[in-house]
């Protein structure tokens, strides 16, 4: 039954590729000619991953198999999978594009994305592994009133997943339109359907292996690209920087912090959101349950930090090399950006590139390795989106089935079979929602959504998680109010910021420029402390009966958290 379903889906997925061939060649203006090399490579990736899904489907029987791959992933494999979750198409294409347009500012972003990892390692990784079972809400609600805290954690997980997912789906549609010459809606549907197949049939096992394969391909591709680029400069970074400064319209300014960071408070606020947001992303935290014990959980953060740091150094090299190398390829630029002799006008280097600066890494692949390498990198970019949305959807589905259904609605009385069934339906539902929202938001500005997801993760999930692990006097009431205070303040302040109030909702000031009602681009510097303060006040002055139970349960939680004694029950596979 499963076998036929899989082949049916496979066939259904490949058909649009064949059908797409004719209309796309005539193509819309922004749509590229059909890239056959890229499509063959992507089909090879899809076939391989569907094969893995088929293998994983046979091994996925229990809830533990479905949510956590039975806890049988090693530290190294999980490190690669975590890195894969983190190295999304947005960070590969977005950061190399940012380096291309602003130089050093790209490095500031990369560092912000990376420094959350040591914090995860020191404060929450093994604690989460010892206390939780399937979702991070297992940990934040460990000693508290299950109904309230699980509902709160599930709501904030779903909000984070939803914004992250919309941003990924819209990015996917546009990228695939550019790379493969497919229609936008078709790209969104292919991503949505493949992701549903991986998650529904293969659960966490398939999702993890898809992520591992993609991470390995992306790291190899980026290594080759950065290596070939450095070879061009005789492996001298100084030579690369010198030529980049000569070629870039901002000249020497690309070698130091620029206009990206406007003022001190915005700089610190963004830094807070990037650092602590990572430690509150549900699809990342869920990965700590796929390893057998705390030791492997630690190893996985170590490997992940290494892979991610290495990857960001590569994107930095790729962005700088692109400044020099793309300027020598007028065919990548709009006609308006070219001088009479056919060379690229220096002032038009950033604004004149076809497809925008997000395409920089892709263009560099073409400049370095021709059509074959362009196809490879395009296929890897598509695979990246696919793997990241699968992980996100699985995290969203487990918030619905494990937290909301099994622990809130059924109050722990449901059986495993029903819970798995609910999570599969939830995956299907989330897949449809993702496809629908992806199409609905096609022409919307979704750039703020990843920032919003990080802000909410940092302001709602992270404070509750860290306080519940370390602070013995915290109570259910404090956790509930603190969590919602972070969630609501992060959301409202983002809506009032210039990026949403002005750029998306179209409010303009007297000078006709977009304005916001709130001066920060990222609310973290207000919403994170607000959440902690609410947790403290409402726990401190909580004299309810429930508060006594919450505080009394801390010792047992602490012993299990520190030693892992008692965790075997939860982690028995």
């Amino acid at each position: 039954m499963k076998r036929f379903a899989l082949w049916g889906v496979l066939f259904a997925l490949l058909t649009p590729f064949m059908l797409a061939a004719s209309p796309a060649l005539s193509g819309a203006v922004e749509q590229q000619a059909l890239n056959l090399t890229a499509i063959y490579m992507f089909v090879a990736f899809v076939l391989a991953t569907l094969g893995i899904t088929y293998w994983a489907a046979k091994r996925t029987r229990t809830a533990s198999d479905f949510y956590t791959a039975g806890g049988g992933i090693t530290g190294f494999q999980n490190g690669l999978a975590i890195a894969g979750d983190y190295m999304s198409a947005a960070s590969f294409l977005g950061i190399s594009g940012l380096v291309f347009s602003s130089g050093y500012d790209g490095l500031i972003y990369s560092i912000g994305f990376l420094v959350g990892w040591p914090i995860i390692m020191f404060l929450i990784a093994e604690q989460i592994r010892n206390l939780g079972k399937f979702t991070f809400a297992d940990v934040s609600s460990y000693r508290f009133g299950q109904t309230q805290i699980r509902t709160m954690a599930a709501v904030s997980s779903l909000v984070v997943v939803a914004f992250y997912l919309i941003a990924q789906m819209v990015g996917a549609g546009k990228l695939i339109q550019l790379l493969f010459g497919l229609d936008y809606w078709m790209a969104v549907v292919i991503v949505g359907v493949l992701m549903m197949v991986y998650v529904i049939f293969g659960g966490m096992t398939a999702t993890t292996w898809v992520q591992i394969i993609k991470a390995a391909l992306l790291l190899c591709g980026a290594t080759f690209m950065a290596g070939a680029a450095l070879y061009h400069f005789g492996f001298s970074p100084e030579e690369m920087f010198r030529q980049a400064v000569e070629a870039h319209p901002k000249a020497g300014a690309i070698m130091s912090p620029g206009s990206l960071v406007k003022d001190p408070i915005n700089a610190i606020s963004l830094g807070l959101a990037l650092m602590f947001g990572t430690a509150g992303l549900p699809h990342i935290l869920m990965r700590f349950f796929t390893v057998p014990d705390a030791k492997e959980a630690r190893k996985s953060v170590f490997y992940a930090t290494g892979f991610i740091g290495y990857f960001y150094i590569l994107t930095f090299i790729i962005g700088f090399a692109a400044i020099v190398l793309l300027a020598q390829h007028p065919e990548f630029f709009k006609p308006a950006a070219l001088a009479a002799d056919g060379s690229v006008i220096k002032a038009q280097l950033v604004t004149g590139i076809n497809g925008g600066t997000n395409m920089v890494a892709i263009r560099l692949a073409e400049a370095i390795g021709g059509n074959l390498f362009l196809g490879f990198i395009s296929a890897v970019a598509f695979a990246t989106i696919l793997a990241v949305v699968s992980g996100l959807t699985l995290a969203g589905a487990s918030a619905i089935s494990h937290d909301l259904y099994a622990n809130v609605i059924a109050r722990g009385r449901s059986n495993e079979t029903t819970e798995i069934r609910v999570s599969k339906f939830a995956t299907f539902g989330l897949g449809l929602v993702a496809i629908g929202l992806g199409i609905a938001f096609e022409s919307q500005n979704v750039a703020f959504m990843v920032g919003l997801a990080f802000a909410i993760a940092a302001s709602a999930n992270f404070p509750v998680l860290v306080a519940s692990i370390f602070w013995s006097k915290m109570t259910t009431r404090g956790a509930l109010i603190g969590g919602f205070a972070g969630l609501i303040s992060a959301f409202v302040l983002t809506v009032l910021s210039k990026a949403v109030w002005g750029d998306v909702l179209g409010h303009v000031g007297a000078d006709g420029k977009p304005v916001g009602l709130f001066f920060l681009d990222n609310p973290a510097i207000i919403s994170i402390p607000l959440s902690f303060v609410c947790i403290w006040i409402f726990s401190r002055f909580d004299y309810s009966e429930r508060a006594k139970i919450d505080r009394a349960a801390f010792d047992a939680q602490r012993v299990r958290c520190e030693t892992g004694i008692g965790a075997e029950g939860a982690a028995s596979h």
Partner: protein, 102 residues
Amino acid sequence: MQQDLIDAVKAHPRYQELVCTRKCFAWNLTFLMLVMYYGFILVIAFAPKLLGTPLSAGAVTTIGIPIGVVIIISSFILTGVYVFKANGKFDDLTKAIREDLQ
């Protein structure tokens, strides 16, 4: 978990040692990481030109580049330091507690 087991673990001398050393070690490393990162952010916020100083006279490379790379590499090294100590000393202590109680 049984209350008597919890009490037994809490009373175990090695447990106190484990809790204290891990707590100090983890928060010290966290503090180090925060100082490093927010030091960097504060320099960007208040003295961005500092990071634009050339490495040597006539060089294009600025000190901001090696500083950024050093922060990336130190993040990795600090996680490595924690893993080394946790997978060695902390796990030995945990093992000792478990063996005594079983």
